[in-house]
Protein backbone atom coordinates (compact mmCIF):
# COMPACT_ATOMS: atom_id res chain seq x y z
CA UNK A 1 0.00 0.00 0.00
CA UNK A 2 1.40 3.32 -1.09
CA UNK A 3 1.93 5.90 1.61
CA UNK A 4 1.40 9.56 0.95
CA UNK A 5 1.59 11.28 4.32
CA UNK A 6 4.09 8.94 5.94
CA UNK A 7 6.14 8.39 2.79
CA UNK A 8 9.80 8.24 3.73
CA UNK A 9 9.12 8.89 7.39
CA UNK A 10 10.36 5.49 8.50
CA UNK A 11 14.05 5.72 9.30
CA UNK A 12 14.63 9.16 7.76
CA UNK A 13 14.81 12.43 9.63
CA UNK A 14 12.42 14.30 7.37
CA UNK A 15 12.19 17.20 9.82
CA UNK A 16 15.53 18.19 8.34
CA UNK A 17 15.06 20.02 5.07
CA UNK A 18 17.96 18.26 3.33
CA UNK A 19 16.44 14.82 4.00
CA UNK A 20 13.08 16.10 2.80
CA UNK A 21 14.63 17.53 -0.37
CA UNK A 22 16.40 14.22 -0.96
CA UNK A 23 13.06 12.41 -1.39
CA UNK A 24 11.80 15.04 -3.82
CA UNK A 25 10.40 17.41 -1.25
CA UNK A 26 9.27 20.92 -2.25
CA UNK A 27 9.00 19.75 -5.87
CA UNK A 28 5.23 20.17 -5.78
CA UNK A 29 5.38 23.68 -4.32
CA UNK A 30 8.00 24.69 -6.89
CA UNK A 31 5.81 23.28 -9.67
CA UNK A 32 2.67 24.97 -8.33
CA UNK A 33 4.17 28.41 -7.82
CA UNK A 34 6.36 28.24 -10.95
CA UNK A 35 4.09 26.75 -13.59
CA UNK A 36 0.47 26.54 -12.44
CA UNK A 37 -2.25 29.14 -12.01
CA UNK A 38 -4.24 29.26 -8.75
CA UNK A 39 -7.28 28.17 -10.77
CA UNK A 40 -5.46 25.08 -12.08
CA UNK A 41 -4.47 24.07 -8.56
CA UNK A 42 -8.02 24.46 -7.26
CA UNK A 43 -9.23 22.35 -10.21
CA UNK A 44 -6.81 19.55 -9.32
CA UNK A 45 -7.93 19.77 -5.69
CA UNK A 46 -11.55 19.44 -6.75
CA UNK A 47 -10.75 16.49 -9.03
CA UNK A 48 -8.91 14.77 -6.16
CA UNK A 49 -12.09 14.60 -4.11
CA UNK A 50 -10.04 15.32 -0.98
CA UNK A 51 -12.39 15.94 1.93
CA UNK A 52 -11.30 17.84 5.05
CA UNK A 53 -9.53 15.63 7.56
CA UNK A 54 -10.46 17.64 10.65
CA UNK A 55 -13.75 15.83 11.10
CA UNK A 56 -16.42 17.50 9.00
CA UNK A 57 -15.27 16.07 5.66
CA UNK A 58 -16.01 19.18 3.62
CA UNK A 59 -14.44 19.08 0.11
CA UNK A 60 -11.16 20.98 0.40
CA UNK A 61 -11.06 22.25 -3.19
CA UNK A 62 -14.53 23.72 -2.84
CA UNK A 63 -13.53 25.46 0.39
CA UNK A 64 -10.57 27.08 -1.38
CA UNK A 65 -12.83 28.12 -4.23
CA UNK A 66 -15.16 29.97 -1.84
CA UNK A 67 -12.54 32.66 -1.26
CA UNK A 68 -13.80 35.67 -3.25
CA UNK A 69 -11.58 36.09 -6.31
CA UNK A 70 -12.13 39.85 -6.57
CA UNK A 71 -11.30 40.63 -2.95
CA UNK A 72 -8.76 43.42 -2.68
CA UNK A 73 -6.55 43.08 0.36
CA UNK A 74 -4.99 40.31 2.38
CA UNK A 75 -6.35 36.78 2.69
CA UNK A 76 -5.11 34.22 5.17
CA UNK A 77 -4.60 30.50 5.58
CA UNK A 78 -4.93 28.85 8.99
CA UNK A 79 -3.66 25.36 9.55
CA UNK A 80 -5.63 23.72 12.32
CA UNK A 81 -3.07 21.86 14.43
CA UNK A 82 -5.12 22.18 17.60
CA UNK A 83 -5.39 18.42 17.82
CA UNK A 84 -7.56 17.83 20.87
CA UNK A 85 -10.46 15.55 20.02
CA UNK A 86 -10.05 12.75 22.58
CA UNK A 87 -8.58 9.70 20.89
CA UNK A 88 -6.89 11.74 18.16
CA UNK A 89 -3.11 11.80 17.88
CA UNK A 90 -2.52 11.69 14.13
CA UNK A 91 -1.54 15.28 13.30
CA UNK A 92 1.19 15.16 15.92
CA UNK A 93 2.91 12.48 13.78
CA UNK A 94 3.07 14.86 10.82
CA UNK A 95 4.03 17.87 12.94
CA UNK A 96 6.92 16.11 14.64
CA UNK A 97 8.09 13.77 11.89
CA UNK A 98 7.17 15.36 8.57
CA UNK A 99 6.77 19.13 9.13
CA UNK A 100 8.07 20.10 5.67
CA UNK A 101 5.24 18.17 4.01
CA UNK A 102 2.81 20.41 5.90
CA UNK A 103 4.76 23.56 5.07
CA UNK A 104 4.88 22.56 1.40
CA UNK A 105 1.11 22.00 1.41
CA UNK A 106 0.65 25.41 3.01
CA UNK A 107 2.80 27.17 0.41
CA UNK A 108 0.63 25.64 -2.33
CA UNK A 109 -2.60 26.49 -0.49
CA UNK A 110 -1.49 30.09 0.13
CA UNK A 111 -0.62 30.49 -3.53
CA UNK A 112 -3.95 28.99 -4.65
CA UNK A 113 -6.10 31.22 -2.44
CA UNK A 114 -3.93 34.32 -2.81
CA UNK A 115 -2.72 34.44 0.79
CA UNK A 116 0.67 35.81 1.79
CA UNK A 117 0.51 34.67 5.37
CA UNK A 118 -0.43 31.37 6.94
CA UNK A 119 -0.79 30.48 10.60
CA UNK A 120 -0.12 27.09 12.10
CA UNK A 121 -2.39 27.05 15.13
CA UNK A 122 -0.80 24.35 17.25
CA UNK A 123 -2.16 23.28 20.60
CA UNK A 124 -0.12 24.74 23.46
CA UNK A 125 0.79 21.40 25.01
CA UNK A 126 2.61 20.31 21.82
CA UNK A 127 5.79 22.14 22.79
CA UNK A 128 8.00 19.66 20.98
CA UNK A 129 5.84 19.79 17.86
CA UNK A 130 5.86 23.58 17.87
CA UNK A 131 9.65 23.63 18.17
CA UNK A 132 10.08 21.12 15.34
CA UNK A 133 7.70 23.03 13.06
CA UNK A 134 9.25 26.40 13.94
CA UNK A 135 12.72 25.06 13.09
CA UNK A 136 11.36 23.67 9.80
CA UNK A 137 9.77 27.03 8.94
CA UNK A 138 13.10 28.73 9.49
CA UNK A 139 14.86 26.18 7.28
CA UNK A 140 12.26 26.73 4.55
CA UNK A 141 12.79 30.48 4.87
CA UNK A 142 16.56 30.20 4.53
CA UNK A 143 16.09 27.99 1.44
CA UNK A 144 13.93 30.68 -0.15
CA UNK A 145 10.79 28.50 -0.07
CA UNK A 146 9.14 30.96 2.31
CA UNK A 147 9.63 34.70 2.47
CA UNK A 148 9.40 37.63 0.09
CA UNK A 149 10.43 35.75 -3.06
CA UNK A 150 9.11 32.22 -2.92
CA UNK A 151 11.15 29.99 -5.26
CA UNK A 152 12.61 33.14 -6.80
CA UNK A 153 9.22 34.47 -7.93
CA UNK A 154 7.58 37.71 -6.83
CA UNK A 155 5.18 35.78 -4.59
CA UNK A 156 5.37 36.34 -0.85
CA UNK A 157 4.35 33.55 1.53
CA UNK A 158 5.25 33.32 5.19
CA UNK A 159 4.13 31.18 8.10
CA UNK A 160 3.65 32.04 11.77
CA UNK A 161 3.55 29.22 14.30
CA UNK A 162 0.87 30.31 16.75
CA UNK A 163 0.56 28.30 19.97
CA UNK A 164 -2.79 27.75 21.63
CA UNK A 165 -3.06 27.62 25.39
CA UNK A 166 -5.24 24.72 26.42
CA UNK A 167 -8.74 25.09 24.99
CA UNK A 168 -10.38 22.23 23.09
CA UNK A 169 -12.90 24.65 21.60
CA UNK A 170 -10.16 26.37 19.58
CA UNK A 171 -10.17 23.38 17.25
CA UNK A 172 -13.52 24.73 16.01
CA UNK A 173 -12.60 26.94 13.07
CA UNK A 174 -14.21 30.21 14.16
CA UNK A 175 -12.95 29.81 17.75
CA UNK A 176 -9.51 29.17 16.25
CA UNK A 177 -9.81 32.42 14.33
CA UNK A 178 -10.74 34.30 17.50
CA UNK A 179 -7.75 32.76 19.21
CA UNK A 180 -5.36 33.77 16.41
CA UNK A 181 -6.69 37.30 16.87
CA UNK A 182 -5.73 37.19 20.54
CA UNK A 183 -9.20 36.75 21.99
CA UNK A 184 -11.11 34.19 24.05
CA UNK A 185 -12.02 31.19 21.91
CA UNK A 186 -15.73 31.84 21.55
CA UNK A 187 -17.07 30.52 18.26
CA UNK A 188 -18.67 33.01 15.88
CA UNK A 189 -22.08 33.07 14.28
CA UNK A 190 -22.00 31.68 10.73
CA UNK A 191 -22.65 32.94 8.09
CA UNK A 192 -20.53 34.78 7.20
CA UNK A 193 -18.19 31.83 6.77
CA UNK A 194 -14.43 32.22 7.26
CA UNK A 195 -13.81 32.02 3.50
CA UNK A 196 -15.51 35.42 3.28
CA UNK A 197 -14.96 36.96 6.74
CA UNK A 198 -12.25 35.16 8.66
CA UNK A 199 -9.17 36.08 10.61
CA UNK A 200 -8.73 39.89 10.93
CA UNK A 201 -12.07 40.11 9.09
CA UNK A 202 -10.39 38.94 5.86
CA UNK A 203 -11.13 35.89 3.67
CA UNK A 204 -9.59 32.87 5.38
CA UNK A 205 -9.28 29.18 4.70
CA UNK A 206 -8.96 26.89 7.72
CA UNK A 207 -7.66 23.40 6.93
CA UNK A 208 -6.55 20.52 9.12
CA UNK A 209 -2.88 19.44 9.18
CA UNK A 210 -3.64 16.16 7.42
CA UNK A 211 -5.64 17.90 4.68
CA UNK A 212 -2.79 20.29 3.88
CA UNK A 213 -0.23 17.48 4.03
CA UNK A 214 -2.12 15.66 1.25
CA UNK A 215 -1.85 18.66 -1.10
CA UNK A 216 1.73 18.16 -2.42
CA UNK A 217 0.93 14.64 -3.65
CA UNK A 218 -2.13 15.97 -5.51
CA UNK A 219 -0.10 18.69 -7.22
CA UNK A 220 2.67 16.22 -8.08
CA UNK A 221 0.49 13.43 -9.44
CA UNK A 222 -2.74 15.18 -10.36
CA UNK A 223 -6.18 15.11 -8.81
CA UNK A 224 -7.27 12.12 -10.89
CA UNK A 225 -4.46 10.01 -9.49
CA UNK A 226 -5.50 10.83 -5.92
CA UNK A 227 -9.15 10.19 -6.70
CA UNK A 228 -8.35 6.57 -7.61
CA UNK A 229 -7.12 5.81 -4.08
CA UNK A 230 -9.57 4.68 -1.44
CA UNK A 231 -13.28 4.54 -2.16
CA UNK A 232 -14.03 6.85 -5.10
CA UNK A 233 -15.82 9.01 -5.82
CA UNK A 234 -16.83 10.35 -2.39
CA UNK A 235 -14.15 8.97 -0.10
CA UNK A 236 -10.82 9.27 -1.84
CA UNK A 237 -7.23 9.09 -0.72
CA UNK A 238 -5.45 7.69 2.26
CA UNK A 239 -6.43 8.46 5.82
CA UNK A 240 -4.56 8.50 9.09
CA UNK A 241 -6.31 6.21 11.56
CA UNK A 242 -5.29 6.71 15.18
CA UNK A 243 -6.04 3.61 17.21
CA UNK A 244 -5.98 3.74 21.00
CA UNK A 245 -7.39 1.83 23.94
CA UNK A 246 -7.44 -1.93 24.36
CA UNK A 247 -5.55 -3.12 21.29
CA UNK A 248 -2.24 -4.92 21.07
CA UNK A 249 -0.64 -2.35 18.77
CA UNK A 250 -2.02 1.15 19.30
CA UNK A 251 -0.69 3.73 16.87
CA UNK A 252 -1.34 5.79 13.76
CA UNK A 253 -1.92 3.85 10.54
CA UNK A 254 -2.01 5.38 7.07
CA UNK A 255 -4.45 3.30 5.03
CA UNK A 256 -6.79 3.86 2.12
CA UNK A 257 -10.25 5.17 2.93
CA UNK A 258 -12.75 2.35 3.04
CA UNK A 259 -10.93 -0.36 4.91
CA UNK A 260 -13.24 -1.87 7.47
CA UNK A 261 -13.18 -1.14 11.18
CA UNK A 262 -12.62 -4.87 11.70
CA UNK A 263 -9.51 -4.87 9.49
CA UNK A 264 -8.18 -1.83 11.29
CA UNK A 265 -8.62 -3.30 14.77
CA UNK A 266 -7.76 -6.94 14.10
CA UNK A 267 -5.29 -6.83 11.20
CA UNK A 268 -3.45 -3.59 11.70
CA UNK A 269 -3.75 -2.88 15.42
CA UNK A 270 -3.18 -6.49 16.41
CA UNK A 271 -6.60 -7.26 17.87
CA UNK A 272 -7.89 -6.86 21.40
CA UNK A 273 -5.27 -6.77 24.12
CA UNK A 274 -4.74 -9.95 26.08
CA UNK A 275 -7.14 -11.90 23.88
CA UNK A 276 -10.12 -10.32 25.62
CA UNK A 277 -13.39 -9.60 23.84
CA UNK A 278 -14.36 -6.38 22.11
CA UNK A 279 -17.21 -4.56 23.81
CA UNK A 280 -17.47 -1.16 22.15
CA UNK A 281 -15.54 1.07 19.79
CA UNK A 282 -15.71 4.80 19.18
CA UNK A 283 -14.82 5.16 15.48
CA UNK A 284 -13.97 8.82 14.99
CA UNK A 285 -12.97 10.57 18.19
CA UNK A 286 -14.94 11.03 21.40
CA UNK A 287 -17.69 13.07 19.74
CA UNK A 288 -18.80 10.25 17.47
CA UNK A 289 -21.41 7.72 18.65
CA UNK A 290 -20.04 4.43 19.96
CA UNK A 291 -20.42 1.20 17.97
CA UNK A 292 -20.69 -2.43 19.10
CA UNK A 293 -19.01 -5.62 17.77
CA UNK A 294 -21.86 -6.32 15.33
CA UNK A 295 -21.14 -2.98 13.63
CA UNK A 296 -17.44 -3.35 12.89
CA UNK A 297 -17.69 -4.56 9.31
CA UNK A 298 -18.50 -0.96 8.47
CA UNK A 299 -16.24 0.74 5.95
CA UNK A 300 -14.15 3.50 7.47
CA UNK A 301 -15.38 6.38 5.33
CA UNK A 302 -17.53 9.46 5.81
CA UNK A 303 -20.69 8.05 4.26
CA UNK A 304 -20.72 4.47 5.53
CA UNK A 305 -20.16 5.55 9.11
CA UNK A 306 -22.89 8.18 8.87
CA UNK A 307 -25.20 5.45 7.58
CA UNK A 308 -24.20 3.27 10.53
CA UNK A 309 -25.34 6.02 12.89
CA UNK A 310 -21.90 7.35 13.74
CA UNK A 311 -19.26 9.48 12.04
CA UNK A 312 -15.74 9.18 10.63
CA UNK A 313 -14.86 12.39 12.49
CA UNK A 314 -11.11 12.53 12.98
CA UNK A 315 -10.85 8.74 12.45
CA UNK A 316 -9.65 8.28 16.00
CA UNK A 317 -10.62 4.76 16.94
CA UNK A 318 -11.00 4.13 20.68
CA UNK A 319 -11.29 0.44 21.45
CA UNK A 320 -12.90 -0.83 24.66
CA UNK A 321 -12.80 -4.43 25.84
CA UNK A 322 -15.29 -6.43 27.90
CA UNK A 323 -13.94 -5.15 31.23
CA UNK A 324 -15.07 -1.59 30.54
CA UNK A 325 -18.01 0.06 32.29
CA UNK A 326 -19.77 2.13 29.64
CA UNK A 327 -21.47 4.37 32.21
CA UNK A 328 -18.06 5.31 33.54
CA UNK A 329 -16.75 6.17 30.05
CA UNK A 330 -19.82 8.25 29.18
CA UNK A 331 -19.44 10.07 32.52
CA UNK A 332 -15.74 10.73 31.91
CA UNK A 333 -16.45 12.14 28.44
CA UNK A 334 -19.40 14.20 29.69
CA UNK A 335 -17.06 15.83 32.21
CA UNK A 336 -14.72 16.66 29.36
CA UNK A 337 -17.42 18.45 27.34
CA UNK A 338 -18.71 20.33 30.40
CA UNK A 339 -15.15 21.47 31.11
CA UNK A 340 -14.49 22.55 27.53
CA UNK A 341 -17.80 24.26 26.72
CA UNK A 342 -16.95 27.91 26.16
CA UNK A 343 -20.14 28.92 27.95
CA UNK A 344 -21.48 31.12 25.21
CA UNK A 345 -24.66 29.18 24.36
CA UNK A 346 -27.01 28.23 27.19
CA UNK A 347 -28.04 24.75 25.93
CA UNK A 348 -24.41 23.64 25.74
CA UNK A 349 -23.18 25.40 28.89
CA UNK A 350 -26.05 24.18 31.10
CA UNK A 351 -26.87 20.95 29.30
CA UNK A 352 -23.37 19.52 29.54
CA UNK A 353 -23.36 20.18 33.31
CA UNK A 354 -26.69 18.35 33.63
CA UNK A 355 -25.32 15.43 31.66
CA UNK A 356 -22.45 15.19 34.15
CA UNK A 357 -24.73 15.41 37.20
CA UNK A 358 -27.04 12.66 35.96
CA UNK A 359 -24.22 10.39 34.77
CA UNK A 360 -22.34 10.87 38.01
CA UNK A 361 -25.24 9.67 40.11
CA UNK A 362 -25.93 6.73 37.80
CA UNK A 363 -22.27 5.69 37.85
CA UNK A 364 -22.04 5.87 41.61
CA UNK A 365 -25.18 3.86 42.20
CA UNK A 366 -27.49 6.74 43.06
CA UNK A 367 -29.40 6.87 39.79
CA UNK A 368 -33.14 7.40 39.89
CA UNK A 369 -35.86 5.73 37.87
CA UNK A 370 -36.33 7.80 34.75
CA UNK A 371 -32.73 9.08 34.68
CA UNK A 372 -32.00 7.40 31.35
CA UNK A 373 -34.99 9.15 29.78
CA UNK A 374 -34.01 12.44 31.43
CA UNK A 375 -30.47 12.11 30.13
CA UNK A 376 -31.82 11.48 26.63
CA UNK A 377 -34.07 14.55 26.85
CA UNK A 378 -31.26 16.78 28.11
CA UNK A 379 -29.03 15.61 25.25
CA UNK A 380 -31.72 16.10 22.64
CA UNK A 381 -32.28 19.64 23.91
CA UNK A 382 -28.60 20.48 23.42
CA UNK A 383 -28.53 19.03 19.90
CA UNK A 384 -28.74 21.68 17.21
CA UNK A 385 -29.20 24.50 19.71
CA UNK A 386 -25.73 25.98 19.95
CA UNK A 387 -23.49 27.96 17.62
CA UNK A 388 -20.79 25.36 17.17
CA UNK A 389 -20.60 21.56 17.15
CA UNK A 390 -19.31 21.18 20.74
CA UNK A 391 -22.79 20.90 22.22
CA UNK A 392 -23.83 18.54 19.42
CA UNK A 393 -20.78 16.41 20.13
CA UNK A 394 -21.67 16.08 23.81
CA UNK A 395 -25.23 15.17 22.89
CA UNK A 396 -24.27 12.65 20.19
CA UNK A 397 -21.77 11.01 22.51
CA UNK A 398 -24.31 10.49 25.30
CA UNK A 399 -27.10 9.47 22.94
CA UNK A 400 -24.72 6.97 21.32
CA UNK A 401 -23.94 5.29 24.64
CA UNK A 402 -27.63 5.24 25.57
CA UNK A 403 -28.58 3.70 22.23
CA UNK A 404 -26.01 0.91 22.26
CA UNK A 405 -25.73 0.22 25.99
CA UNK A 406 -29.11 1.25 27.37
CA UNK A 407 -29.44 -1.88 29.51
CA UNK A 408 -26.15 -1.22 31.20
CA UNK A 409 -27.39 2.21 32.30
CA UNK A 410 -30.71 0.75 33.45
CA UNK A 411 -28.97 -2.00 35.41
CA UNK A 412 -26.75 0.57 37.10
CA UNK A 413 -29.90 2.35 38.26
CA UNK A 414 -31.94 -0.68 39.32
CA UNK A 415 -29.09 -2.55 41.01
CA UNK A 416 -27.39 0.57 42.34
CA UNK A 417 -24.07 -0.82 41.24
CA UNK A 418 -22.00 -1.69 38.21
CA UNK A 419 -22.55 -5.17 36.87
CA UNK A 420 -19.30 -5.01 34.91
CA UNK A 421 -16.95 -3.83 37.57
CA UNK A 422 -18.69 -5.52 40.54
CA UNK A 423 -17.82 -2.54 42.71
CA UNK A 424 -20.23 0.38 42.42
CA UNK A 425 -18.61 3.27 40.63
CA UNK A 426 -15.66 1.31 39.31
CA UNK A 427 -12.38 3.16 39.45
CA UNK A 428 -14.31 6.40 39.30
CA UNK A 429 -13.40 9.25 37.08
CA UNK A 430 -10.50 11.05 38.70
CA UNK A 431 -11.51 14.42 37.39
CA UNK A 432 -13.57 16.98 39.21
CA UNK A 433 -15.38 19.36 36.92
CA UNK A 434 -14.52 22.93 37.66
CA UNK A 435 -16.87 25.20 35.84
CA UNK A 436 -15.17 28.38 34.74
CA UNK A 437 -16.32 30.90 37.35
CA UNK A 438 -15.29 33.79 35.18
CA UNK A 439 -17.88 33.19 32.52
Amino acid sequence: MEQILFKGVEGAKLADVQSYLAIGGYGAARKAVGSMTPGQIIDEMKKSGLRGRGGAGFPAGMKWDFVPKDFKGPRYLCCNADEGEPGTFKDREILEKNPHLLIEGMIIACYAIGAELGFIYIRGEFVKGANVVEAAVQQARSQGFLGDKVFGTDRRVDIIVHRGAGAYICGEETALIESVEGARGNPRVRPPFPAVVGVFKKPTVVNNVETLAAVPSIVNNGGEWYAKIGLPPRNTGTKLFAVSGHVEKPGVYELPMGITLRQLIFEHAGGIKGGRKLKGVIPGGSSTPVLVPEDIDVSMDFDALAKAGSMLGSAAVIVMDESVCMVEQAHRLAEFYAHESCGQCTPCREGTIWQVKILERIEHGNGKQGDVELLGRVSSNILGNSLCPLGDAAAMMVNGFLKKFRNEFLTHISAGRCAVRSVAGGTGAGQKVTINADL
Binding site: G84, G87, F89, L117, V127, I160, Y168, F200, I282
Partner: protein
Protein backbone atom coordinates in the same frame (compact mmCIF):
# COMPACT_ATOMS: atom_id res chain seq x y z
CA UNK B 1 7.74 46.73 39.33
CA UNK B 2 8.14 43.66 37.15
CA UNK B 3 9.98 43.62 33.86
CA UNK B 4 10.83 41.21 31.02
CA UNK B 5 14.45 40.31 30.40
CA UNK B 6 16.12 41.87 27.37
CA UNK B 7 15.78 38.58 25.47
CA UNK B 8 12.05 38.34 26.16
CA UNK B 9 11.62 41.97 25.21
CA UNK B 10 13.24 41.42 21.83
CA UNK B 11 10.95 38.44 21.25
CA UNK B 12 7.97 40.70 21.90
CA UNK B 13 9.28 43.26 19.41
CA UNK B 14 9.70 40.50 16.82
CA UNK B 15 6.11 39.30 17.39
CA UNK B 16 4.79 42.83 16.94
CA UNK B 17 6.52 43.07 13.56
CA UNK B 18 5.28 39.64 12.45
CA UNK B 19 1.59 39.78 13.37
CA UNK B 20 -0.91 41.82 11.35
CA UNK B 21 -2.45 43.35 14.53
CA UNK B 22 -1.14 44.11 17.99
CA UNK B 23 -3.99 42.21 19.68
CA UNK B 24 -2.91 39.00 17.97
CA UNK B 25 0.36 39.08 19.92
CA UNK B 26 -1.51 38.56 23.19
CA UNK B 27 -1.39 34.75 23.40
CA UNK B 28 2.31 34.49 22.53
CA UNK B 29 3.21 37.35 24.90
CA UNK B 30 1.29 35.62 27.71
CA UNK B 31 3.29 32.44 27.00
CA UNK B 32 6.50 34.47 27.29
CA UNK B 33 5.22 36.11 30.49
CA UNK B 34 4.56 32.72 32.05
CA UNK B 35 8.13 31.66 31.26
CA UNK B 36 9.46 34.88 32.73
CA UNK B 37 7.37 35.11 35.88
CA UNK B 38 6.15 31.55 36.48
CA UNK B 39 2.48 32.45 36.55
CA UNK B 40 0.07 35.11 35.35
CA UNK B 41 -0.77 37.28 38.36
CA UNK B 42 -2.94 40.43 38.13
CA UNK B 43 0.30 42.43 38.11
CA UNK B 44 1.59 40.38 35.16
CA UNK B 45 -1.72 40.90 33.35
CA UNK B 46 -1.36 44.65 33.69
CA UNK B 47 2.23 44.53 32.55
CA UNK B 48 1.32 42.42 29.50
CA UNK B 49 -1.55 44.81 28.70
CA UNK B 50 0.91 47.69 28.60
CA UNK B 51 3.36 45.75 26.42
CA UNK B 52 0.79 44.60 23.88
CA UNK B 53 -1.28 47.78 23.94
CA UNK B 54 -4.63 46.32 24.98
CA UNK B 55 -6.73 46.87 28.11
CA UNK B 56 -6.00 44.90 31.29
CA UNK B 57 -9.60 43.66 31.12
CA UNK B 58 -8.89 42.10 27.73
CA UNK B 59 -5.83 40.35 29.12
CA UNK B 60 -7.82 39.14 32.12
CA UNK B 61 -10.50 37.73 29.82
CA UNK B 62 -7.97 35.83 27.73
CA UNK B 63 -5.77 34.66 30.61
CA UNK B 64 -8.80 33.21 32.40
CA UNK B 65 -10.15 31.45 29.30
CA UNK B 66 -7.10 29.31 28.53
CA UNK B 67 -6.19 26.64 31.08
CA UNK B 68 -2.47 26.66 30.30
CA UNK B 69 -2.04 30.11 31.79
CA UNK B 70 -1.47 29.49 35.47
CA UNK B 71 -3.01 32.15 37.62
CA UNK B 72 -1.52 30.70 40.78
CA UNK B 73 2.16 29.89 41.34
CA UNK B 74 3.13 26.34 40.39
CA UNK B 75 6.09 24.28 41.56
CA UNK B 76 9.35 23.85 39.67
CA UNK B 77 7.79 20.79 38.09
CA UNK B 78 4.17 20.92 36.97
CA UNK B 79 2.99 17.32 36.86
CA UNK B 80 -0.13 16.97 34.71
CA UNK B 81 -1.97 13.69 34.37
CA UNK B 82 -4.16 13.15 31.32
CA UNK B 83 -7.50 11.78 32.48
CA UNK B 84 -9.38 11.57 29.20
CA UNK B 85 -10.85 8.40 27.80
CA UNK B 86 -7.88 6.65 26.15
CA UNK B 87 -5.59 7.32 29.12
CA UNK B 88 -8.45 6.46 31.47
CA UNK B 89 -8.74 3.06 29.78
CA UNK B 90 -5.00 2.59 30.23
CA UNK B 91 -5.12 3.34 33.96
CA UNK B 92 -4.83 7.07 34.54
CA UNK B 93 -6.93 6.91 37.77
CA UNK B 94 -4.28 4.59 39.22
CA UNK B 95 -1.51 6.84 37.92
CA UNK B 96 -3.14 9.76 39.70
CA UNK B 97 -3.36 7.77 42.93
CA UNK B 98 0.31 6.85 42.68
CA UNK B 99 1.30 10.47 42.17
CA UNK B 100 -0.88 11.60 45.07
CA UNK B 101 0.89 9.21 47.39
CA UNK B 102 4.40 9.77 46.01
CA UNK B 103 4.07 13.55 46.16
CA UNK B 104 1.89 13.65 49.26
CA UNK B 105 -0.50 16.15 47.71
CA UNK B 106 -3.89 16.27 46.01
CA UNK B 107 -4.69 17.78 42.62
CA UNK B 108 -4.16 21.52 42.33
CA UNK B 109 -1.78 21.47 45.28
CA UNK B 110 1.93 22.19 45.47
CA UNK B 111 4.43 20.38 47.68
CA UNK B 112 5.68 22.46 50.65
CA UNK B 113 9.18 22.64 49.11
CA UNK B 114 7.54 24.16 46.00
CA UNK B 115 9.08 21.46 43.81
CA UNK B 116 5.91 19.83 42.44
CA UNK B 117 2.39 20.86 41.53
CA UNK B 118 -0.08 18.09 40.65
CA UNK B 119 -2.89 18.67 38.14
CA UNK B 120 -5.28 16.65 36.06
CA UNK B 121 -5.77 17.68 32.44
CA UNK B 122 -8.00 16.79 29.54
CA UNK B 123 -6.76 14.99 26.42
CA UNK B 124 -3.10 15.69 25.65
CA UNK B 125 -3.32 14.25 22.14
CA UNK B 126 -1.07 11.26 22.72
CA UNK B 127 -3.90 8.76 23.10
CA UNK B 128 -2.10 5.72 21.69
CA UNK B 129 0.53 5.92 24.39
CA UNK B 130 -1.44 6.18 27.62
CA UNK B 131 -1.26 6.76 30.42
CA UNK B 132 0.40 10.07 29.60
CA UNK B 133 1.88 12.45 32.12
CA UNK B 134 3.16 15.85 31.08
CA UNK B 135 5.85 17.39 33.27
CA UNK B 136 6.56 20.99 32.26
CA UNK B 137 7.12 20.81 28.47
CA UNK B 138 7.79 17.07 28.26
CA UNK B 139 5.43 14.16 27.63
CA UNK B 140 6.04 10.88 29.45
CA UNK B 141 4.16 8.12 27.63
CA UNK B 142 3.05 4.60 28.57
CA UNK B 143 4.17 5.35 32.10
CA UNK B 144 4.09 2.50 34.59
CA UNK B 145 3.65 2.83 38.34
CA UNK B 146 7.35 2.13 38.92
CA UNK B 147 8.22 4.38 35.99
CA UNK B 148 6.53 7.44 37.43
CA UNK B 149 8.14 6.82 40.83
CA UNK B 150 11.55 6.74 39.15
CA UNK B 151 10.82 9.89 37.17
CA UNK B 152 9.80 11.80 40.31
CA UNK B 153 12.82 10.46 42.19
CA UNK B 154 15.07 11.60 39.35
CA UNK B 155 13.58 15.09 39.38
CA UNK B 156 13.91 15.32 43.18
CA UNK B 157 17.61 14.56 43.04
CA UNK B 158 18.29 17.03 40.24
Amino acid sequence: MIQFTQEAMSRVERLKRQYPTKDACLLPVLHIAQREFGHISPEVMEYVAGLVGVSPARVYGVATFYTMYNRKPVGTYHVQVCTNISCHLEGSPKMLDTLRSVLGIEEDQTTPDKMFTLSTVECLGACGFGPVVQINDDYYEQVTEQGIKDIIKGLRSK
